[in-house]
C-alpha cells in the first residue's frame, strides 16, 4: 500500500487524467492552457497568482509546479513570498471577517 497520499511523481502523470475521459480531460487542458496565456495579465502575473492560489488551496502538486514555473520566469523568491502573504492575508481575513457574524450573534443574544 502507498504510504503517503501524495507522490511527487504523480504530478508528471497529470495528463493521464484524460485517459479515463478523453472529452472532458481534453476540454479541461485546453481551457487550462488558454487561461495561462498572456492576455490583459502577463504570463508572469498569472504565474504569481497561481502560486498564491496553490498555497491557499494547499495543493502540493500546484506549489511544486508554480514554484518551478516562477523560477523559470525569473520571478524572485522575494516576489513569491510577497504573493504568498497576499494569499495568507485574504485567507486570514476571511476567518476574521466572520467575526462580525459572531459579534452580531453575541450582541443579539446578550443582555
Amino acid at each position: 500500500m502507498q504510504k503517503t497520499y501524495y507522490d511527487p511523481t504523480d504530478l508528471k502523470k497529470f495528463g493521464k487524467i484524460s485517459e479515463w475521459n478523453e472529452e472532458l480531460g481534453s476540454k479541461f487542458f485546453e481551457y487550462y492552457n488558454s487561461v495561462f496565456k498572456e492576455g490583459n495579465l502577463s504570463e508572469r502575473e498569472k504565474s504569481l497568482i497561481a502560486l498564491a492560489v496553490s498555497h491557499t488551496i494547499q495543493c502540493p502538486y500546484c506549489i511544486d509546479a508554480y514554484t518551478g514555473d516562477g523560477l523559470q520566469r525569473g520571478i524572485t523568491k522575494e516576489e513569491m513570498m510577497e504573493a504568498l502573504h497576499v494569499a495568507a492575508a485574504i485567507r486570514g481575513g476571511a476567518s476574521l471577517v466572520h467575526g462580525v457574524q459572531m459579534m452580531n450573534k453575541v450582541n443579539k443574544l446578550e443582555m
Binding site: 508528471k12 502577463s42 504570463e43 508572469r44 518551478g68 514555473d69 523560477l71 523559470q72 520566469r73 525569473g74 524572485t76 522575494e78
Partner: protein, 350 residues
C-alpha cells in the same frame, strides 16, 4: 569565492569521470533513453555537420570569477592559456574559413596576455560577426582593462555578456559577491560609447542562464523583463537576451549531485526534449577550438574532452572539407541543447 573543481581536486575535475557518470545511473538501466537512442527515434543519429558558420576559439580557462554553474570550471587558478603560436595557427584558419562568425570565449578571454594582438590580427580577416564573450566584471577588474570597451568599439566587436538576473541577489549568488555591481558599471560604460543602444551597430547581447536546477523560461518574455528592469533601475540598454540551458557537466554537474537534484534535472531535460531542436543544435554549424588548439564539436564536448571524430584533430592540421565530413559526438549532456526551444551560445534555436 568558491574554488574550481581542479583546485578542490574533485573527482569531477576529471572529464572521464563526468562522461562515466552521465552514462550510468538512470541512463544505464534504461530508465531514461540515452541521447543517441532518443535522436535515433527520429532518424537523426548520428548528427552530421551542416554548413560551417561559427568558429569558436577558447583563449584559456583563466577567469577572474568562479561561477557556481561554470561548465568550463574556469577560475583564477586555471593556468591553461592559448599561446601565441597556437593563435598564429588559428589566424591561418580564420583567414581561409567559410565561417562568418568568430566567437572568442574563455574563461575570461581578455585575460590572455595576447588577447589584444590576436583581436587586432583576426579583425583584419574581415569576419562578418566578431564576438567576444565578456563576463563584464573583467572590464572593471583592473585599470589595464578599463579601456577595453573602446578597444572593442574600434574593432567593431560584438559583445556578448553573462547576466543571470536583473537583481543583485540572484546574480551574486551564482557569480560571486560584488559581481552584479561591477557588471552594471561595465554595462554603463558600454552603453556610454554606444554599445547596446537602439539602432546602434555596436552589438551588445546578454546571456541568461538559470541560477539553479531548473530550465530557462520563455526567452522573449525574459528579454522583456530584463530590458524593463535594467532600464528602469539603471538606465541600461542592450539588444538581445539569449536564454541558455545549463548543461549537466563540470561545476553545474557537481552542484546537481551535491544538491541531490541530478536525477530530477535530467528528467526535466529529457521530458522537455524537442526533436525539432536537434536539427539546429550548434554543433552542426560550429567548430570549437581549445586553448591548446584541439578541435571539438562544441564548447561542451571540449570540456568533456570528447574530440572531433576526424583525422583532423588539431588547428595546425585544419582542413575544413575533411572536418565537415564527420559524425558529431553526442551523449547525455546534449539533452541540454535540445530541451524546449533548444539552447545554444546564441540562445534559443527554434
Amino acid at each position: 569565492m568558491i574554488k574550481s573543481l581542479h583546485k578542490r581536486n574533485s573527482e569531477l575535475a576529471n572529464s572521464n569521470k563526468q562522461v562515466e557518470f552521465l552514462s550510468n545511473g538512470i541512463f544505464k538501466g534504461g530508465e531514461l533513453a540515452t541521447f543517441n537512442n532518443k535522436i535515433a527515434e527520429t532518424n537523426q543519429f548520428p548528427l552530421r555537420p551542416k554548413k560551417l558558420e561559427i568558429l569558436q576559439i577558447n583563449l584559456g580557462y583563466m577567469c577572474n570569477q568562479v561561477c557556481e554553474h561554470c561548465h568550463v570550471d574556469a577560475g583564477p587558478d586555471r593556468k591553461e592559456i592559448m599561446t601565441k603560436e597556437t593563435m598564429l595557427q588559428c589566424l591561418d584558419v580564420i583567414k581561409s574559413t567559410q565561417a562568418h562568425t568568430l566567437d572568442l570565449t574563455g574563461g575570461a578571454p581578455e585575460m590572455n596576455p595576447n588577447f589584444r594582438w590576436f583581436v587586432d590580427e583576426a579583425s583584419k580577416a574581415g569576419i562578418k560577426d566578431f564576438i567576444v564573450r565578456s563576463n563584464l566584471t573583467i572590464l572593471r577588474a583592473n585599470k589595464k582593462f578599463y579601456d577595453l570597451p573602446e578597444f572593442f568599439k574600434n574593432h567593431n566587436i560584438h559583445v556578448i555578456s553573462s547576466m543571470p538576473h536583473w537583481t543583485k541577489g540572484k546574480t551574486d549568488k551564482q557569480r560571486g559577491s560584488g559581481v552584479f555591481d561591477k557588471s552594471i558599471k561595465a554595462l554603463e560604460e558600454l552603453n556610454k560609447i554606444g554599445y547596446g543602444m537602439p539602432n546602434s551597430n555596436l552589438k551588445l547581447d546578454l546571456v541568461y542562464n538559470p541560477s539553479g536546477a531548473f530550465l530557462p523560461g520563455n526567452q522573449v518574455a525574459l528579454e522583456k523583463d530584463f530590458k524593463k528592469a535594467l532600464h528602469d533601475d539603471f538606465g541600461i540598454q542592450f539588444h538581445n537576451l539569449f536564454a541558455i540551458t545549463n548543461l549537466p557537466i563540470s561545476r553545474f554537474l557537481d552542484y546537481l549531485i551535491a544538491s541531490e537534484n541530478y536525477e530530477d534535472y535530467m528528467y526535466s531535460l529529457v521530458e522537455a526534449y524537442n526533436p525539432e531542436a536537434v536539427k539546429n543544435v550548434m554543433c552542426t554549424n560550429t567548430i570549437s577550438v581549445s586553448w591548446d588548439g584541439f578541435l571539438y564539436d562544441c564548447d561542451f564536448n571540449q570540456m568533456l574532452e570528447l574530440p572531433v571524430s576526424s583525422k583532423v584533430k588539431h588547428i595546425s592540421e585544419y582542413k575544413e572539407d575533411q572536418l565537415q565530413n564527420r559524425n558529431i559526438i553526442t551523449s547525455q549532456h546534449c539533452y541540454g541543447c535540445t530541451a524546449g526551444a533548444g539552447s545554444s551560445c546564441q540562445g534559443n534555436i527554434i
